[in-house]
């Protein structure tokens, strides 16, 4: 029990908060056909993180977070500029900007390595869910003990805060976000600045992505921006229901994926756990595949059955 509280609980909580925050925003990304923005941003923040690290000289979260957010904003603006002034298709603009920024980050990271500092790219790619520990936990009673709770790992606290802020922002701007996602032109004519709403959404995406990276890695972030929302989209036509479903899928993926990665190898007789964030991504993919196949109305099976009824 103590091991669970010290090792597994904090990791599961971090994964849960991160996946839910991503899934919440993912609903709008999928609707707006900007799913790949999560991918682009999550690659493009690398130079920001490394740059902040080189400037500040510490691994403190504050500067790294600020650098990453700055890089995310630069990426969003650059993509838009290249798209508009270069008259390139948005996928091309995205690919050019994020890959060049990522390359700059890789080169800068080698420079950082020259200064004997430990900034591991793998860490950013795969995350370190397994490294999130709650050493103050002594037993179930620690869950109610303020002193022990105060010693909860920073990642868990930060991700909980990010989830809360994201949920608040989405709730406060639900009307604007919905309108701008379904019909940006209408939103503009009605006096809602679609461009500003878009930029605001991108800032949120960047913030969530960056906060989630440290704990769960960029791969999981990309998967969570897309898979839960896409799965939910296969099951419903109502945005509210879709958001609720996507949050549920995210939770299932986070807890189920972690459990599979941490415990399944033990049952199979392997004594080392598998990559948890990778497994969470795989579970979310499986959920999405199931939704595509089995969705009652829009799923492959559902449409087959409807076709048979008509015939």
């Amino acid at each position: 029990m103590q091991t669970f509280l010290q090792l597994d609980l904090p990791a599961m909580l971090a994964a849960l908060f991160a996946t839910m925050a991503c899934a919440l925003l993912g609903n709008f990304l999928v609707l707006r056909r900007q799913s790949l923005m999560g991918d682009a941003i999550s690659h493009a923040v690398l130079p920001g993180i490394v740059g902040a690290f080189l400037l500040a000289g510490t691994r403190a979260a504050g500067p790294l977070f600020a650098g990453a957010i700055a890089a995310a904003l630069v990426a969003v603006v650059l993509i838009e500029l290249v798209r508009r002034y270069g008259r390139l298709e948005s996928g091309t603009a995205m690919g050019v900007v994020f890959s060049v920024m990522f390359a700059a980050g890789v080169v800068m990271m080698e420079q950082a390595a020259a200064q004997n500092v430990d900034l591991d790219a793998d860490c950013i790619l795969y995350g370190q869910l397994e490294g999130i520990l709650w050493l103050a936990a002594a037993g179930p009673e620690s869950l109610l003990d303020p002193a022990a709770l105060a010693a909860l790992p920073r990642e868990v606290v930060v991700l909980a805060g990010v989830l809360a802020v994201t949920a608040l922002a989405v709730f406060a701007f639900r009307k604007e976000l919905t309108l701008a996602s379904f019909d940006p032109e209408l939103a503009t004519t009605l006096g809602f600045p679609a461009g500003m709403i878009n930029l605001g959404l991108m800032v949120l995406v960047g913030a969530v992505a960056v906060a989630a990276f440290e704990a769960v890695g960029s791969i999981l972030v990309i998967a969570m921006f897309i898979c839960p929302a896409a799965a939910a989209r296969m099951l419903t036509d109502r945005l509210g229901v879709q958001i609720a479903l996507s949050l549920a899928f995210a939770a299932v993926a986070a807890l189920g994926g972690y459990a599979l990665a941490a415990f399944a190898p033990l049952w199979l007789g392997v004594d080392r756990a598998l990559a948890a964030s990778g497994m969470i991504a795989v579970v979310s993919g499986v959920l999405m595949a199931l939704a595509i196949l089995l969705g009652p109305v829009h799923g492959v099976l559902g449409r087959r059955m409807a076709g048979r009824r008509v015939a």
């Binding site: 298709e89 390359a103 999981l220 080392r272 595509i292 492959v300």
Partner: protein, 447 residues
């Protein structure tokens, strides 16, 4: 960068002329050929609007690499052998393309969501498999991790030769399928109607992208290989509107990026080849974005400035003409710019540019503090004023706008009235008897 030792000029020359050792030379040639192939294949990918597809399938190769390693090891072979790993990568990449295709075809999800989902889920699966490989404790994971970031410096001459051979093959295949690719890039709907098997051609194109991606893994790594495919092609797009030219330019950019990037990385310690190659490509893209003759940003800004100056110049000519008309002076008489409302509000730079442009075209003379229209300038000013008023008359008589509202719109349109339209305006106004007599201009509506 305190630890960086800068190479001497002789070293630079040696590397660039392939005299810095057999291995370096072969790797440089191999990566340059890879860049060439990536530029060729990438041109079609970009035109087909599938740029992010190359990102998707390069990420999707990871589980294939892991599985191929496991399978080869289980069968008692050498798991780390390059052909085995690349076969696994190719299979997984093609599988990724097919899954995206299936999702788009059989669900209501947009293509970008399908690509993002395949990218992240396949890569996540790859991470899980790699973490399993780690538990085997064979020490092979280091060799596999090379594929994520690439390590051109660690490539052997044999690896480079393999890359060169595959890249050449990909270029030849593209040359064979040139007509088919062109058809689906420019108008897939029309191509389908003409009987081209669009789905098959797309699959062939994406398979070529997979092949180039897979051989590029070693050199630049799977995250950056997308840059090698997209960036040179996107840069080439700025220089031309012709497909053949674009492919050649993209191939050249890709080759230059590979060659220069590998050379830099060989010369400078701590500059990883993958990153440097992409940064060189990115620099070429930036240069193209700004400096390309027709589609470049600088050219567009220049055209915009020219148009602006020419429009303002036309306004000044008409203002001079109307001032002379109002004062019943000859149109060639000198006039003080300070008397013209339009010129008073101009910032000095714009005023200087407009005046210089008009004088360069021989329409205006400077006369001490005043300016005067040359004979050619009088002719042009007469024509402009006449067009302006013809258009105003037209708006009042046929579009039924109030005379106070027509000046602004005539201002906008007078610069683009062509001869045929002016002739038609004259004919229409003549039929209702509002056309002024020969060589005259219609009387100003605002006088």
């Amino acid at each position: 960068m305190s630890g960086t030792v800068w190479p001497t000029a002789a070293q630079v020359l040696d590397v660039l002329t392939l005299r810095a050792g057999y291995n370096t030379a072969v790797v440089m040639i191999g990566v340059a050929l890879l860049g060439l192939a990536a530029g060729v294949v990438g041109s079609f990918t970009v035109l087909r609007k599938r740029a992010m597809m190359s990102d998707t399938l390069s990420h999707a190769t990871l589980p294939g690499i892991g599985l191929a390693f496991l399978a080869a090891t289980a069968l008692g072979g050498e798991g780390r052998s390059l052909p085995v790993l690349l076969t696994g990568a190719t299979a997984a990449g093609v599988a990724g393309v097919l899954v995206v295709h299936l999702i788009v075809r059989h669900s209501r999800l947009p293509e970008d969501a399908a690509m993002g989902a395949v990218l992240s889920v396949f890569f996540g699966l790859g991470a899980v498999i790699l973490s399993y490989v780690q538990t085997l404790g064979t020490g092979a994971e280091g060799g596999i991790a090379t594929f994520i970031y690439g390590r051109a410096a660690a490539m052997s001459a044999g690896d480079a030769l393999l890359i060169a051979a595959v890249a050449t093959g990909a270029v030849l295949a593209t040359a064979l399928l040139y007509k088919e690719f062109r058809a689906v890039c420019f108008d897939p709907g029309f191509a389908a109607a003409q009987g081209w098997p669009v789905g098959l051609i797309d699959l062939a194109m994406m398979t070529l992208v997979v092949v180039v991606t897979v051989v590029g893994l070693q050199a630049v790594g799977l995250i950056l290989v997308i840059a090698l495919i997209i960036v040179p092609a996107a840069a080439a797009r700025f220089w031309t509107d012709r497909l053949g030219t674009m492919v050649v330019i993209a191939a050249g950019f890709g080759m230059a990026s590979g060659y220069v990037g590998t050379a830099l990385s060989a010369l400078l310690p701590r500059f990883p080849a993958g990153g440097i190659i992409v940064l060189v490509a990115g620099a070429l893209f930036l240069v193209s974005l700004f400096l390309a003759p027709r589609r470049g940003v600088a050219a567009a800004a220049w055209r915009h400035l020219r148009l602006r100056v020419s429009v303002e110049g036309q306004h000044l000519l008409r203002a001079l003409f109307e001032a002379a008309e109002a004062a019943q002076r000859p149109t060639g008489a000198p006039a003080d710019l300070a008397d013209l409302r339009i010129a008073r509000s101009w910032p000095p730079l714009r005023r200087a540019l407009v005046l210089a442009d008009l004088r360069r075209r021989g329409l205006l003379r400077r006369d001490a503090a005043a300016v005067a229209l040359t004979p050619a300038g009088q002719e042009e000013a007469w024509r402009l004023t006449r067009n302006h008023r013809l258009w105003e008359e037209y708006l009042v008589n046929f579009a039924h706008l109030a005379p106070t509202h027509v000046d602004r719109s005539a201002d906008l349109v007078e610069h683009v009235l062509d001869g045929a339209l002016v002739a038609e305006l004259e004919a229409r106004l003549a039929t209702i008897g509002r056309l002024p007599r020969l060589r005259g201009v219609p009387r100003s509506l605002h006088a």
